[in-house]
């Protein structure tokens, strides 16, 4: 049974075509990775699937709901972890989770139990009452992952989940994600970390807005005629003929840089 269906998705931003005729489907319970360099269209795909951005043409369905016509049905069925933390740093971990409970209308009598469970799952029981601004990058990610699971979503979207984490935080988070397997949850993540893509059920390689290849890591190697011990990096290079590209800093990057200098404060 397909939980996600994309049919001819196109997205333009002005003259730029960020996504060009993307067609793919993801089965229930699958771990699926979208692999590609910066600006390839991975985030655009994720934004369309999470109803944050409508496609210019084509259609997409998540958990049986059309992303344009039934956004609320989609939103009820998904959990999302963003590329940069979407947390309120002036609130505690617990307070952030309680906001999430209200957003998803989790019944009041269950809120305490659900919040405790999420903190426990994120191994943040001790830190739950501390302000999020005192958390490390890894702790923030675990909190967000725990939060994204609070309302029992059918599909979990992870946008570059381990980006910016130190090796230890990366491993810890990856172990948490691996735990989700076998729970019937479908996971879709974007990454340009090849080792992470390697451990997924299927990988879609995307570049310049187009899906270049799709299959299990093993199938992808065969597709481009490489030996079984070849890395996905080699597959990627064979398909696209180049490595990663840099992007210019947009307004958002400038804001993030400002955040790193001193935080929100506006005084």
């Amino acid at each position: 049974m397909n939980v996600i269906v994309c049919d001819g998705l196109v997205r333009h931003f002005g003259d730029v075509t960020a996504l060009n005729d993307l067609t793919l489907s993801v089965e229930k319970g699958e771990f699926f990775a979208l692999l590609g360099p910066n600006g390839a269209g991975k985030s655009t795909t994720l934004h369309i699937l999470t109803t944050m951005l409508p496609p210019s043409s084509g259609r997409a369905e998540v958990a049986g709901h059309d992303v344009v016509r039934e956004p609320r049905g989609v939103r009820n069925a998904i959990g999302m972890v963003f590329q940069e933390p979407a947390l309120d740093t002036r609130l505690t971990g617990r307070e952030n989770l309680r906001i999430h409970a209200a957003l998803y209308a989790i019944p009041r009598r269950r809120v305490d139990a659900v919040v405790d469970e999420a903190l426990q799952w994120a191994s943040l029981e001790e830190a739950g009452d501390r302000l999020v601004r005192t958390y490390s990058g890894g702790m923030k990610r675990r909190l967000e992952l725990g939060r994204a699971l609070m309302h029992e979503p059918k599909v979990l979207f992870l946008d570059e989940p381990t980006l910016g984490l130190d090796p230890q935080g990366r491993r810890h988070l990856w172990e948490s994600i691996a735990q989700l397997r076998g729970r019937g949850l479908t996971v879709v993540m974007t990454t340009h970390n090849l080792a992470e893509a390697e451990s997924c059920d299927r990988v879609g390689i995307i570049d310049q807005g187009r899906l270049q290849a799709l299959g299990t890591p093993q199938e992808l190697r065969h597709q481009v005629g490489l030996a079984g011990d070849a890395t996905l990096e080699e597959v990627f290079l064979a398909l696209t003929g180049r490595g990663l590209r840099d992007e210019d800093a947009g307004p958002r990057d400038r804001l993030l840089a400002f955040a790193k200098q001193g935080g929100e404060h506006t005084g």
Partner: protein, 305 residues
């Protein structure tokens, strides 16, 4: 892991609940969030006190030493509603502008992908900003014994009411600006480009219809003072009559804050310069229109094109 089991045992929990646009719980959660964030950022409370001391005590008594009075009120008394307005301006716009931050690196993205009705989130935010406005706006009231203004319960309640309406209007206005802002590198542009013009052009620190220089030697006789008031000019000590330039008058009349401030001065001191009907209609109609527009614009953050 117990979560999967919990889902089986409580299938209702996983089903999507029916939700209208107005959800008291959600409004309450976002109202409270706004207040908690404000309370934890002590620099905002400190700024509120520093601003009050600078404007009300230092400017009030400093300039008040040169100007004898405005319509029988000392200068410090005259600018008290203005200083409250300044505090409301800062509190509400600061609270509203944090939306830029929220949208790019904060909680707002989490709201966008959630099934929650944005209208309730927006209302919580605006009501939160208005509540903070009342708190910060009340700081100058602590100084009323110093400047000899008597606070009766009625005066206090009506002043709080005006502060709340002003807070709703200005927070909504700030939300409109915030939804249009792409990036945000400090509060300076808002402070100098929005707050201070609205403040200076509201009759906060000089009377709206005219100023009479107060450094003359002669007192204006009482009957002349009455005649001047009939044509809308307020005598300030003794000295020369100076009308505000027309362009300045126009700007003051166009500024909605002028009417709210006039209403507050009426509530607090019993002294008013603009028609009561204009004051009341601006105070009660404009905040509602502003909230409607701000809510609509926040709904627009969920892109549909």
């Amino acid at each position: 892991m117990t979560r999967a089991r919990a889902a089986e045992e409580h299938p209702a929990a996983a089903a999507s609940p029916r939700r209208g646009a107005l959800e008291p719980r959600l409004i309450g959660v976002f109202w409270r969030r706004e207040l908690t964030r404000w309370w934890r950022d002590r620099s905002q409370l400190f700024s509120g006190f520093a601003r009050t001391v600078l404007w009300l005590v230092i400017l009030g008594f400093g300039l008040g030493a040169a100007l004898r009075d405005i319509e029988g009120y000392t200068y410090a008394q005259y600018i008290l509603p203005g200083v409250i307005t300044l505090n409301v301006l800062f509190a509400s716009l600061q609270s509203a502008i944090s939306l830029v931050w929220d949208r790019e690196v904060g909680v707002m993205r989490e709201v966008l992908v959630s099934p929650a009705p944005m209208t309730s989130v927006a209302l919580g935010k605006v009501l939160g900003g208005a509540t903070i406005s009342v708190i910060v706006g009340s700081i100058p009231l602590l100084f009323t014994p110093l400047i000899q203004v008597q606070l009766t319960p009625l005066r206090l309640l009506s002043t709080w009411g005006v502060m709340f309406l002003m807070g709703m209007l200005l927070t909504s206005f700030g939300v409109m600006i915030a939804t249009r802002m792409k990036t945000f590198e400090g509060f300076g542009a808002i402070s100098n480009g929005v707050i201070l013009p609205l403040y200076f052009l509201s009759g906060s620190i000089f009377p709206i219809r005219g100023i009479i220089g107060g450094v003359g030697f002669l007192d204006i006789p009482a009957d002349l003072r009455d005649q001047l008031r009939d044509v809308g000019i307020y005598a300030l000590g003794g000295g020369w009559v100076v009308q505000l330039p027309v362009w300045l008058q126009v700007l003051v009349y166009l500024n909605p804050v002028s009417y709210l401030l006039d209403l507050m001065r009426w509530a607090l001191l019993g002294f008013r310069q603009l028609p009561a009907a204009a004051d009341l209609s601006v105070a009660f109609v404009l905040p509602i229109i502003a909230i409607a527009i701000a809510t609509r614009m926040m709904n627009g953050m969920r892109r549909t094109h």
